[in-house]
């Protein structure tokens, strides 16, 4: 017998678990200003998450999925996007969405139960898809957007989409990889491997050694990155997006991290996780890692990082206040249920709309 195919999956890491450079850093990471910005972006998401979960506990937010421990995956990938790129997010995409330019208060409005949260106002986010809740459906939307870009021969545009490692068990994930491979689409798939699909661990999800290699069968370049190392995530995503924008086709990036929060505010992870593993995971978390590196390398002083954190707190508070004021004062009228069903409302539904208006907003 001869070997018809073989493969290997590379693993990229710049800062090891002790925040020591494991590799020559990419150029962008030699600029402390860029690293401090990444630090701030991650801090912002962590503080925002904490505040949002607290809002849920006092009844001012509905079910919310935090990104705790996964900030580097979102910030590293989202900050690699450029004007003209399209983001197709999933429900744990808060960090990526904010990095793309979607307003934090819009994301809060969505989880707070208001459809208007997906009507993104930023001019660079007009083509971005709303958060996908049904698992893996977004993979195909991303393939469709990338198909449109390719068919129209639009240069310099790429699409980024994300999925959890559990979502890679869905058929639609494989269908998206397959078509992206066949048509060489300008598309980057990020697999956020946070070790948990609600309560189901990775070993019950797949027998494959890596989630990245799921793209191999589709003929797509695949790699793993340390998802707690924002430099590695950003470097891999930047290169994959550049490749996509210049006709080089799709890439699958598995970012390995750990979900330090519950799945959502409706979940209790203590029912299934091992406290020891959880505790160990805290030692690898992404914000501390970048902080340690910045301090050790002289890229930033402790005071600078502290004031950066304070700055983030103030920015988060501003967004929270916009959200709370919106929830307090700005209600959709009952007819809003009907007004976006179709471009033109059919007669049958118009009658129901009239009834909803008559009954008012009780």
């Amino acid at each position: 017998m001869r070997t018809s195919a073989s493969f290997e999956i590379k693993y990229l890491q710049y800062l090891d678990e002790k925040a020591k450079p494991a590799n020559d850093l990419p150029d962008f990471a030699k600029d402390p200003k860029i690293l401090i910005q990444l630090y701030k972006d991650m801090q912002f998401v962590r503080i925002l998450d904490k505040r949002t979960v607290a809002l849920q506990r006092i009844g001012k937010m509905h079910t919310y999925p935090a990104s705790l421990g996964q900030e580097a995956v979102g910030v590293g990938s989202g900050s690699s996007l450029q004007e003209g790129d399209v983001l197709i997010p999933y429900y744990r995409g808060t960090a990526t969405m904010i990095a793309k330019g979607i307003k934090p208060h819009e994301i809060l409005q969505y989880w707070g139960g208001d459809e208007r949260g997906s009507d993104y106002k930023d001019k660079n986010c007009k083509e971005d898809f709303p958060i996908a809740v049904p698992i893996a459906t977004q993979m195909l939307h991303a393939a469709g957007v990338a198909t449109a870009i390719k068919l129209r021969k639009q240069k310099g545009r790429a699409v980024l989409t994300e999925i959890g490692e559990g979502g890679t068990s869905e058929g639609e994930f494989y269908e998206a990889l397959n078509v992206a491979g066949v048509w060489d689409l300008p598309l980057v798939f990020i697999i956020n491997n946070n070790q948990w699909a609600i309560s189901v661990p990775t070993e019950l999800q797949t027998r494959a050694e890596t989630f990245a290699q799921k793209g191999i069968a589709a003929g797509i370049e695949c790699l793993q990155v340390d998802g707690n190392d924002v430099i590695a995530v950003k470097d891999a995503t930047t290169r994959a997006l550049d490749k996509a924008r210049t006709g080089g086709g799709p890439t699958v990036i598995e970012a390995i991290c750990y979900r330090l929060s519950d799945h959502t505010t409706a979940d209790d992870a203590s029912r299934y996780n091992d406290p020891k593993v959880h505790e160990d995971a805290w030692k690898k978390e992404p914000i501390k890692r970048l902080q340690d590196y910045l301090l050790a390398s002289g890229g930033a002083l402790a005071e600078e990082l502290e004031s950066a954190e304070e700055e983030c707190k103030a920015l988060v508070e501003k967004e929270i206040q916009i959200y709370l004021k919106f929830m307090e004062e700005d209600h959709q009228p009952p007819e809003a249920m009907f007004d976006y069903l179709f471009a033109e409302l059919p007669e049958r539904t118009r009658v129901q709309r009239d009834e909803a208006i008559r009954r008012g907003s009780k």
Binding site: E115, D119, M139, T147, A148, I149, E175, V179, P346, R348
Partner: protein, 326 residues
Amino acid sequence: MATLTLIEAVTLAMEHELARDKDVVLLGEDVGLNGGVFRATDGLQEKFGVDRVIDTPLAEAMIAGLSVGMAGQGMKPVAEMQFMGFVFPAFNQIATAAARMRNRTRGRLSMPLVFRMPYGGGIHAPEHHSESTEALFAHLPGLRVVIPSNPSRAYGLLLAAIRDPDPVIFLEPKRIYRIEKHEIEDDGEAYPLDTCFIDREGDDITLVSWGAMMHETLKAADKLSEDGISAEVIDVATISPLDSATILDSVEKTGRCVVIQEAPRAGGIASEIAAEIAEKGLLSLLAPVCRVAGYDTIMPYARMEGQYMPSVERITDEVQKVMQFK
């Protein structure tokens, strides 16, 4: 002016829109060189190229999800599901994305796409090739479900479906793909959606149907006229959202109504029409609204499908019963 079958009219409508609007693309399994298994896209790839008439990998959810993504970029995909029996992997995409994207983005992203698919029984096809599951789609807010019953209507309604800025499920009754021909001028004149068509005027009873069953219904109306019963015949055409007004106006005139559908009886569109009449037209009724429908069974295989399909005789029997009601 050409003399065309229903399927040729479908092809003509797509050809017209491909030529008129550069954002229109066709995609699906075997739609390219092969021209589709029923030849709906025959010759179109040759004429418009592989970037406009696209052979996809074999995956229905992918065809639907891809269409959603393309529509998000302002393209107008007309996707073919090879048979309605195979649409279910795509149902997730249709229900969770296509039908609700405009609503969930408050109008920021719309879905100007069409999912075409052959449906219904009567051609002795293998298992899963003969069902009529239109009610599953009609139950989803945000979707239009359109069914032509003859070649002219296939041309005019498909033009309208492709031009509509919202998602349309376009169901093609394959039993009547080649049963008759109409003179059709390729003038690009679309027919209105959300509107019933009155195909025959009458005074004694209203017969309501759509798709292939319109043929049995019209034949039944002929037979009934021999017995001195004057039937008004309505083709619903857009089964969702339903144009109840046209049906109610007719029932107000005739006082009697029978609804005919090929699909199973329970939970179908006929039930919705009967309920509308019961709610809004009760006082004009001289008899109960009755349904002639497929049985609530699994669609039988080819050898027995004739016993399943509502026949002209079942329709005339039901009408006689309604006419004699006291």
